[in-house]
Symmetry: C2
């Protein structure tokens, strides 16, 4: 028996009990005649005490213990003289009479403390030490709890978790697949799923009615800061549903998680049309923790002789309340911000609403006080407000103003990570035009159904067709997205054609799905949530790496196990492959 | 709104309510003026009725519906005249006044019935139709429920589910890995995990104390009848434990599943030494639903002039109670059985215990009545029993007698699938000698710790060293296995050396784990359960395919999606590979 109790549970009521504990040496303190050790395990910290007078040999041994040594001690629980009420076990200590070193430890390359001195690269290399830190343990516990609560809720709603295969078929459309050479089928490959999309649709055809799965998915993309080659989805699908049924079902899940994990009762989520989100926030994932809606100014701003406005497709602004006192320097900084290449605006027009009712603007030359007043009224601006205006091509200008809005929100402290503002974006466009390839791409994916009322536009103005597609957005982060699917073979074929598939390509890649649609496929739809991202949001961290036990770096490498790595010639031969670096 | 209710919930109390249902047409019956349709969904079957007199147009439409059409109906709930009390909804029917065909269906290639007319190949190709059958739906529901109860129990015991990576590193030792070429790291490969073994050990080093995960694992093996290239494990690990702690913890899980899933209270599981299991059952996974223990007969059987016994390393038999009346023909069949190549015995000796107290044996020539009586006494044989004896090389003879024992158990109806006899096999050998490679292999895996008391034999008689390893066996099926691990770098190095690793190989493949052992690795151990197999056992089926939504066939192919398949030259180029069929 290596322990009778954990390091997090002993209290004053246990006084005088004889216990055995095991754990790690967090800290050692020698106070002359006494040596104190903080013994740590997953559950907490318990103070051990060794007395030089009563047991000098044991005390000597204790003094030799290094940080992160693993020990087993037996002793009696005593009441502490100096109680530490911040610690769950802070009223007691163990007077040790037996000590066994279970394992030694080299000095860790960084401190195992909340504020560690280790850089990210080093911590990733020694991830098993990094994971000993409270913040990481709390994040992984949160992740476990969110998965448990998700499964509990989904099961209570009659959903069945069904495992779909990981070795599937490569469908090069969309993101890049990871492929797996088959040894038994020479020259052929499996692919790892980018999502269980087609399988969950087949489960609907199979009558499973309500499916979910917490499942790993894989995408071989060039990794941006917050992407991982493998990531986890809460994947869901329902039969006999329309868009509202799906939104209601998963608003239920989200509310359950807010309630059980964060202790929050949240209101019904607003449902915002995609076009409105773009118009008022310049984004399909607006941060609604603050208002600062866009105001379009083409009518009042054009025709005053200011060339930038006059030639712009869109003149649009926001009102930063209470920022009327911004200095020249502060305004220049904002101009620099919007001019950054990743923001891409050419310049920034401001209107300061002075406290005396007058206005000061960077376009005073073209706009008199009355005209500035007229502009300010569009924003319901009050004295001491600051109006910020961008102009140019519509989409680019909206995007830039969206960034400026978020920046102002941050500066004004309006983006509290403990406040959550969830919403649905609905009625996305079905297609988006790709300038590069000169053809339409599916905005969501090729299985998303167009709105019935927009069917007639499919041939002539496909770009205007809206989809039965929706996203769940929380605090400016896209947490999930889904759609009502096509369940009719002819419509699916038409969709593939629109997306530039030949009939043969469509058949060879997705023939099994279209065949299935011929045997009584029910109307169905679903959603998938980015589980890593949702956990990160609830953990209050910006990076999904903080909530993944063993993440990979930006080059897709696991630096701890040193993977990927070379394989043997025998292994290559068995899978009928040869390396080929001549590209 | 596609439905107000499901097809499984309406009862007499709902009489006169107006409802909308959606589902599949299971069966249509025309009874002159009336047409009845059984409407099916996941939840049940509800009878629809169409009246030719009151609504001839609708009734005509109903008559045109084919099997597996998907329809939506609205109507009023009425009390049935001919109640079907076998059906949950059998007291009511829906008098339909509105019918919409949501989707048509071709005639399915096999009947969607419990006793289908479809062969396995066809059902696999149309798995989405096969999955509509009750037996498959019940199996997948059982699987979901077992996963839910497993998670519930493990969480209640303070285990945390932690996701480990799927893209890891190839370690060719053991079974063959599936590998995944890396595009970003030219010439390098990830491997899919055969199990999360090293990661769960690192989690113990990281202080997570109690880990579990229901997780997919991958092995590129030539598939036998009941193997799949991807399969699911309940993977578990605990820190600060000895063998008994692990057995107690997971006996708890097994009892919880017996209780909640099968409604059974099972006794404490016997713990049987590996050597005893081999001696008394000829197997490390004995079926304990019946006794029929082996009795070794070297002493009484040798030296009577019967060459087969005299030259055998082992003479061993079983007593088939009540089979003393077996005919010549039945005995010949048993001899044929043991002579089958996969059983491998040369012949079978029997002793019939006649009702008059005499004996009849195939070796009467060498054994008189008294000597036969002496043999029979070893078995505590009673009149009308049948003693069956094999002789030869020890291991092969035990294996053959094990098969014969199972065969006799089946013939005697002693292997009821509704009776469950779980047990632990403990103290496996650490190593097994491989004749082919002329070196030792790890019986469990290289991370398994030898018994402390056997350390001294590691150098000179490694084959006799016992391991802290254990299996959970139920009804002759190995459901899980695990061990207490090595947590000391030097011992781990010594183990790799014993297994024929060079120092470089050990370092390059498992250096990260041995490094981790230097930073305060706690004693730890764990277990992994074959989830597919456990579900199959509880479902009462022999094949794990029956409890997997989308299984692969014996060639590792998914015949429904036609995978694996060729990939494009561009894809090959991107992963820096070329096909190479010259072996």
């Amino acid at each position: 028996m290596l322990r009778t109790n954990t390091c997090g549970e002993l209290k004053l009521v246990n006084k005088n009990e004889k216990v055995t504990l095991s754990g790690w040496v967090q800290r050692t303190r020698d106070l002359g005649g006494m040596t104190f050790i903080d013994l740590r395990d997953r559950y907490g910290i318990t103070q051990l005490v060794f007395n030089m007078e009563t047991n000098p040999k044991l005390c000597e041994a204790a003094r030799k213990l290094g940080r992160e040594f693993v020990i087993k001690v037996t002793g009696e629980i005593a009441e502490r003289i100096n109680k530490n009420l911040k610690l769950a076990t802070g009223e007691i200590e163990i007077v040790v009479n037996d000590l066994e070193v279970l394992n030694t430890s080299k000095v860790p390359p960084f401190t195992i403390e909340d504020n560690t001195d280790g850089g990210e690269e080093l911590r990733m290399q020694y991830r098993y030490l990094d994971l000993r830190r409270n913040v990481n343990r709390d994040n992984l516990k949160l992740r476990h709890l969110m998965a448990i609560e998700t499964r509990k809720y989904m099961t209570s709603q009659d959903f069945i978790e069904i495992e779909t295969p990981y070795l599937i078929k490569s469908t090069p459309e969309g993101a890049r697949d990871f492929v797996v050479p088959s040894r038994m089928n020479a020259g052929q490959f499996y692919a790892l799923p980018q999502s269980p999309q087609t399988f969950k649709q087949l489960l609907m055809v199979a009558g499973y009615d309500k499916y979910f799965q917490i499942v790993k998915c894989f995408r071989d993309e060039d990794l941006r800061a917050d992407r991982q080659p493998e990531f986890t989805q809460i994947d869901c699908e329902m039969a006999f549903v329309e868009q509202d049924d799906v939104l209601n079902a998963f608003e239920g899940l989200a509310k359950h998680l807010f309630k059980t994990i964060k202790g929050l009762n949240v209101d019904d989520f607003p449902r915002i049309q995609y076009v409105d989100a773009m118009k008022y926030y310049g984004s399909d994932k607006p941060d609604l923790r603050f208002d600062m809606k866009f105001v379009e100014l083409n009518d009042p701003a054009k025709g005053k002789g200011f060339q930038v406005f006059d030639s712009a497709e869109l003149v649009v602004g926001i009102n930063a309340e209470g920022c009327g006192g911004y200095s020249r320097k502060q305004l220049d900084k904002l101009t620099d911000f919007v001019r950054k290449p990743q923001i891409g605006a050419k310049g920034l027009v401001y209107i300061k609403c002075n406290n005396d009712g007058t206005f000061k603007s960077s376009v005073d030359k073209f706009f008199g006080q009355e005209e500035l007043n007229r502009l300010a009224k569009q924003f319901n601006a009050k004295p001491n407000d600051l109006i910020l205006i961008l102009a140019g091509e519509k989409n680019r200008t909206r995007k830039a103003l969206c960034e400026l809005r978020l920046e102002m929100g941050s500066r004004l402290g309006l983006r509290d990570p403990n406040v959550f503002k969830p919403l649905w974006i609905v009625n996305f466009p079905l297609l988006e035009w790709n300038e590069e390839t000169q053809c339409y791409h599916a905005m969501h994916h090729p299985f998303t159904s167009p709105k019935k009322e927009d069917f007639s536009m499919l041939e002539n103005t496909p770009g205007e067709v809206r989809a039965n597609a929706y996203d769940l957005v929380i605090n400016g982060v896209e947490i999930g997205g889904g759609s009502i699917r096509i369940h009719n073979k002819q419509l699916q074929q038409r969709m593939f054609k629109l997306l530039g598939f030949t009939e043969e390509e469509a058949q060879s890649q997705f023939g099994f799905l279209m065949n299935a649609f011929e045997y009584g496929a029910p109307p169905h739809g679903g959603i998938a949530f980015g589980f890593d991202r949702w956990v990160a949001l609830f953990a209050g961290t910006d990076s999904i790496r903080d909530v993944i036990a063993f993440p990979k770096n930006n080059a897709g490498r696991d630096v701890m196990i040193d993977s990927p790595s070379a394989i043997s010639d025998d292994q290559l031969k068995e899978i009928h492959m040869r390396l080929d670096f001549n590209e």
